[in-house]
């Protein structure tokens, strides 16, 4: 139920993001989802890609500072209140979210939230008990 996420340390300068996308494009690696957090001097680019192993290898070879970790991908209904229902369950269990980002799924009326929490296992149990659909890594990579 865990999804692999690759984070890249990015110095804030013009063209840095494009360097990364160009490296991935050349390697024919497809992006599934991404989020960028930044301050005035650096940024953290988080990526979910179709071939995580290859992406890690290529980015390392190109000298990027990266970190891998796992996140949860939760399907939610694409209508008002969809996100609220997930947060409701997690809050009740006292699970705090480090960050999250979403994208629209390929099925109609479905969105996917990528959720990063400190204790992934507990959050997975909680969400499953709450009746939510969690997507497997393989599923996300091949979406």
């Amino acid at each position: 139920m865990q999804v692999r996420q690759i984070s890249v340390f990015m110095e804030n300068r013009a063209g840095r993001l494009q360097e990364i996308t160009s490296i991935l494009a050349k390697a024919n690696i497809n992006l599934r989802a991404l989020s960028l957090a930044d301050t005035s001097d650096f940024g953290i680019l988080r990526l979910i890609v179709d071939r995580p192993d290859d992406a890690v290898k290529i980015l390392r070879t190109e000298g990027f500072t990266i970190r891998e970790n796992t996140v949860i991908a939760c399907a939610i209904a694409d209508h008002p209140g969809g996100l609220n229902s997930i947060l409701n369950v997690l809050t009740k269990e006292g699970i705090s979210i480090e960050y999250m980002y979403g994208f629209l799924g390929k099925h109609k009326d479905e969105a996917v939230m990528i959720i990063r929490v400190e204790n992934t296992e507990t959050a997975i149990e909680t969400l499953l008990e709450g009746g939510f659909t969690l997507l497997k890594g393989e599923h996300i990579y091949s979406m």
Partner: protein, 436 residues
Amino acid sequence: MVKYWNEHAETMSRDELEKLQLSRLNSTLHRVYDHVPFYKEQLDALGIKPDDIKTLDDFHKIPFTTKAEMQASYPYKMFAVPLDDIIRIHASSGTTGQPTVVGYTKNDLETWSELIARLLVAGGVTKKDIVQVSFGYGLFTGGFGLHYGIEKIGATVIPLSSGNTDRQLQIMQEFGSTVIICTPSYAIYLGEILADRGIGFDKIKLRVGCFGAEPWTEAMRKEIETRLNISATDNYGLSEVMGPGVSYECQAKDGMHINEDNFIVEIINPENGEVLPYGQTGELVITTLTKEGIPVLRYRTRDITSLLPKKCACGRTFIRMTKPRGRSDDMLIIRGVNVFPSQVETVLVEMAETEPHYELIVTREGALDKLEVKVELNENYFSDEMRVMHVLEEKIKNRLRNALGLTAKISLVAPKTIERSVGKAKRVIDLRDYLA
């Protein structure tokens, strides 16, 4: 193992040493008075004749020689012998303006290699060693200076010069180098690349490193010794008085023995020139005693250090100096606080989260000085969570505030993005406009 290169000189009694210093000083004074117009004018202005200087106290009456005066003598005006007798020219790197040109006679080169031989032996080098010199060969005194000392002790020298890290590592492995000579910052860089390429200690034969040409810290020594699996010693010198070989660490690694049979050293208050007692920190001043080509009297090195008069466990009687904390002209004054780059380095080396590579950028906004410290992040501490990165920045900021007494802006940069130096590291960018 041979303990000393020149046991008689390195362990002579203080009485004998002082006598030797005074007689050599007298000879130097005569030589400069007769052959260097600059010194004749300086001494005449004070009514001092060479034979008036009979004790080391009298010696304090002689005026200082400054870097600016040596620069003004460009290129040959301070030479005390005809150019005919000069067989080698070197020049300072000119990082702080006009280069200073220095000339060596045959005897000077003989003396110099003797001093280098002492530092090598004290650092643990023997005639069986294969010594890779990764200092630049050229006008810089590092490469050639070390070279002839290595030959003198009978070790094998690989005169590789600086740069081209791939080739450095290839030769180190294939030629079986057992000793490396370079700057301490380059040594750390070599260690990083070894780790990167997965070159294990079984692939290299290094056991000793003699490092100099820039100030470094005790923490950096540990880092180098671990990363390269060697014993690292420091040595000190400057081209204006000889080049490397002025002072050197022994196996006690507790201060650098000054070759006092060739130099008289003093510590002064850089603000007013007052001579300070042993143990106090101030600017190092050096007088050459044997130099023929370009002898200098009371040269202000701008290096900040202190002298340790206590006898060393190694048996050498030469006084020791502590590692220079930086140069008096490297010292930054930021919001009225004296900051030495070496203080920043000490903090960073002690933190696992950062690499010991940094850049200090000083700017002035209105009337307020601002210090920005660019620091390389250690890859293992990179986190996908911004919160964690902020905590890290705060930690660095607090440590630096404790060490420096002022708050700096921390800018984290990716590992291996700050330029590595092969010569003297450029770590300070001062963008303040002093005329504004």
